[in-house]
Amino acid sequence: MDVRDAVFGIGSRRRFLAHLARLDLPVGPGDSRPVTEDDVASLPKPAQRYMRLMGVVGRPRDWSFRVRFVGGLRRAPGKRWMRAVAWQYNASLSVARIFDLRMDLGGVLPMFGSDTYVNRRGRMFGKLLNVLKVVDGSGREFDLGELVTYLNDACLLAPSMLLNDNVNFAAIDAESFDVTLVDADNEVTARVFVGSDGRLVDFSTTDRWYADPHGLVHARWTTPIEGWITNGDRLLPSRGRAVWHVETGEFEYAWGSFEPETLEFNVPPTTPARSQRGPATGERRVGRAVLDALSGVPLFVSAPLIRRWHMRWGASDAEVSGPMPGDEIVPKASFNATRAITIDALPERVWPWIVQMGYRRAGFYTYALLDKPGTRAPTASCPSTRIRRSGIGCRCRRRSTRPRRSR
């Protein structure tokens, strides 16, 4: 694992767990009846072969899993591969799939993507630098596209998740079968190809849409599996690819593998032991503050690249060109930025927070490390009356980047 993975990996996992917590998914446990011989005996022959090879008979049904995915993605044929790392959680309990991805455009600009299927709705979301929204897809195409991806994961990692009432199998030939998943008004189908040894070799569906520059195009999507490895008493794909079959030919846009050491089955969406962790103290607090500050580094480094946008972050044209107090004092400013935000509170509730900012005051409410390195006092959470009284001539200073003594 390289240093960047080590640093950002922790943040990605935290981001992912926070995302899961926000979704308020059912905690389970789900259906965990053991799979019987009867459950698989009625399946098409190649499906039976695969289920038996995967060792599902006699084991409780799987109802969820969590795993980290590592691989590569590219935006167009011939473009360079971007490293991608994702955390995902799938549950058959009110069918859900959350796939939180991080990749670095051009190796430097972090892009955070999220594919979700929750409450029968699919969504694809992407943000550059975690602030600039670049992709936000929802609607019928995404409902089906995300659901069939859930089906793909279930086939590859936990086929006993398919042995439920909402899944139907259909025989095709000796080496393939169709599997159909119904979730309320969403229905998706895929053809699964199984080798004579029982291993799944490919998954093919037409229930996904390819986003080309002109819009969404209905296209065939396949995930050929290169090989299988054993992981405890289970089998796991060693490496897979994802391929679009579009008019211009095949476009392999993703490859990767699931990390066996991160794979956990039948777990609730959030791990209570972690989320119930109390406020960090001492070294751990400093460590967390360091990570927090580091997570902002890509934004620091790339700020000049997005200058035109950030110099007026959140502000309307009228606000950018409108007057502000003291405009006449520095008429020819080299740096002139107007930013704005809407707050759901009265001005008198906002005012104290602005007044109390500054050096030896409440800190700038921002990166804890830069505010108050290593001190135990958290960034202010309620305004203090003592420091709220502002007088003309009061000194307030932008934070120093140099660590100062804790007080």
């Binding site: 700020a303 740096f335 002139n336 930025a337 001005p347 990166y367 309620c382 502002s390 003309i392 932008r398």
Partner: protein, 92 residues
């Protein structure tokens, strides 16, 4: 930036009107805040930072440039979001 608060590194409160606006100033730079009441008990918070890079003092101009061009946006974004979160949560 030097460690001591002095006339060149410190923003001073230049003028303000409670619950309306606030202006900080230091040589070659102003930082203003404005609160505009909106319908539904909401507030528009606008902030403007103006800085002239004083190239007659190259070291100080360069440090201001580096600090602002790289650091200002990530910081101010968190400041604005921080004020928003706290004001919305704070019930007095």
């Amino acid at each position: 930036m030097s460690k001591k608060v002095n006339e060149t590194t410190a923003f001073k409160v230049k003028a303000f009107e409670p619950n309306g606006w606030l202006l900080w100033e230091k040589p070659d730079s102003t930082w203003s805040w404005k609160l505009v009441p909106l319908d539904g008990d909401r507030t528009r918070l606008i902030t403007r930072l103006k800085q002239r890079y004083a190239w007659e003092k190259p070291a100080s101009a360069l440090s201001a440039l580096v600090l602002l061009e790289f650091g200002d946006f990530p910081m101010i974004r968190r400041v604005l979001k921080g004020i928003k979160a706290r004001a919305e949560r704070w019930q007095g």
